[in-house]
Symmetry: C2
Subunit: 291 residues, 2 copies
């Protein structure tokens, strides 16, 4: 069996006769005739009923044509994939996002990415803090979305994205929730819930006020424990919102500083790495999203 034979078979079905298919394929009629004959021999099946003026598909032939179309589609996909890869498309693209709390605004962009690069194999991971920079450094991730750090690393190219508002929150059942105004001294006396990566770093101490801290991997986990009244925490507003609307938690009104603390979100990429078309597209799309 042969790909050409299948192509010819499909052409014959589309054109309605061997001769017409031959004309359309730029071949001689005899070529088509023999190709079909040999396909019939190979499959040990009569595909056409030639008793009339025009060849007519047998029932078995019709089934075979269906399957032949599937084969052709897969071949088509293969050549398209090859063309994409030859054009430099990444075989695998890994986006590292600091915390899955970003997903709500990120998911629509990923949907666009999927439409733009249907053959791309995408991986989205949520490493926190220094875990993310480590992945970028190692080349395990191609592009990173994270918060502006206190000490700026040299090996990365960085672009600003949107600002996220952080606020301090507690369960409505918490002692702090009863106060009309809260001081940092108040905060220091209660357990603080904080986000951590899997290693140690200075970065994760940012925002620490309390001496007693529980560390959790991810905003979602922190929020869950805040709801369970296990402490207070700084969290992005959009992560807090649903629980606030349900009346489970309350924002803390802090006296000496603004109740809401803005943090700059950034897009990172290893300086000496040239991204492929999907990486370029995604970078550009994320930057224009900011404006």
């Amino acid at each position: 069996m042969n790909l050409q034979q299948l192509d010819i078979l499909l052409a014959v079905v589309a054109a309605g006769s061997f001769s017409a298919a031959a004309r359309k394929l730029g071949k001689v009629q005899s070529a088509v005739s023999t190709a079909i004959s040999e396909l019939e021999i190979d499959l040990n099946l009569q595909l056409f009923d030639r008793s009339g003026r025009y060849p007519k598909l047998t029932e078995a032939g019709a089934r075979i044509v269906q399957q032949a179309q599937l084969v052709r589609q897969q071949c088509q996909q293969l050549t398209e994939l090859a063309a994409d890869l030859a054009g430099g498309l990444e075989t695998r693209f890994c986006l590292a996002v600091d915390d899955e709390g970003q997903l709500p605004w990120l998911a629509p962009v990923l949907a666009e990415l999927s439409a733009q690069f249907p053959k791309l194999e995408l991986q989205v991971l949520f490493p926190l803090l220094e875990d993310l920079t480590l992945m970028l450094e190692r080349g395990d991730a191609d592009l990173g979305i994270c918060f502006q750090p206190q000490q700026l690393p040299e090996q990365f190219l960085r672009w600003p994205l949107q600002q996220l508002q952080f606020a301090a929150a507690v369960s409505t059942a918490h002692v702090l929730a009863t106060l009309a105004e809260v001081t940092t001294a108040d905060l220091q006396q209660h357990r603080q819930l904080m986000v951590t990566g899997r290693g140690e770093s200075l970065e994760k101490q940012r925002g620490r006020l309390s001496s007693q801290v529980w560390w959790l991997e991810g905003d979602i986990a922190v929020l869950a424990l805040v709801e369970q009244n296990l402490g207070w925490a700084w969290l992005p507003l959009h992560v807090l919102q649903p629980a606030m609307l349900q009346g489970k938690i309350k924002l803390l009104p802090i006296n000496s500083e603004p109740a809401q603390l803005p943090l700059q979100l950034e897009l990172w990429q290893l300086r000496d790495k040239t991204p492929g078309p999907a990486g370029l597209w995604l970078r550009q799309r994320l930057l224009q999203l900011k404006g």
Copy 2:
């Protein structure tokens, strides 16, 4: 691009080297080498890194191999389908069942059929009474499951299947449900709900007692209207059972005849039609189900 090239590619990946693949394929090493080379030229992609002793798939090559396997699978399916069809497998098999109320016991058999003939294209229809015989006669259906008729047709081969128990039932809210014993005279005075096909026939009058009848296509519809207290009906016990357990309907105790009326289920096939392997298997399986 070529099917052979893809085969060779897969063989190389499996064997780990061009030479080993050649040995396994019964070809010369040069054939494999040129085949891969030309595939690379066709796809405009480097599939292997040849810098080492053994060729190593590139990342792009790995993606291509995945897709090549899909192509091969579809081709495999095509040849298997061709072999099945060449072996006489029906391109399409239509089973006609008198009423979908039979499905509970029939579905497991169809599951077995699916396992036995995975490539078969099955159609299951539920024509009633004379609609079913018409479909068999016309060749629209290959095998029929229906009730033993009053006048026996000559053009069919017939095999007995199991017996089904029929009973008369009404809604628990019906006047007849209050009686401790019911006579045919009682039944004659209330609306009877009966099954009908889409045409007219004598057969559908069987079991008619009342002068006032509503006709419905199928037991399910009849049961639904019985539950709505729109009349009484003869129905198979296994159709009545769920509604009985829910207390929606009640069986009628009839004085002069047994409360339950058995009807013989039969398997039908056009006398001069030779079935394919799936038809033969299904017939045999249904008959051994009876014993």
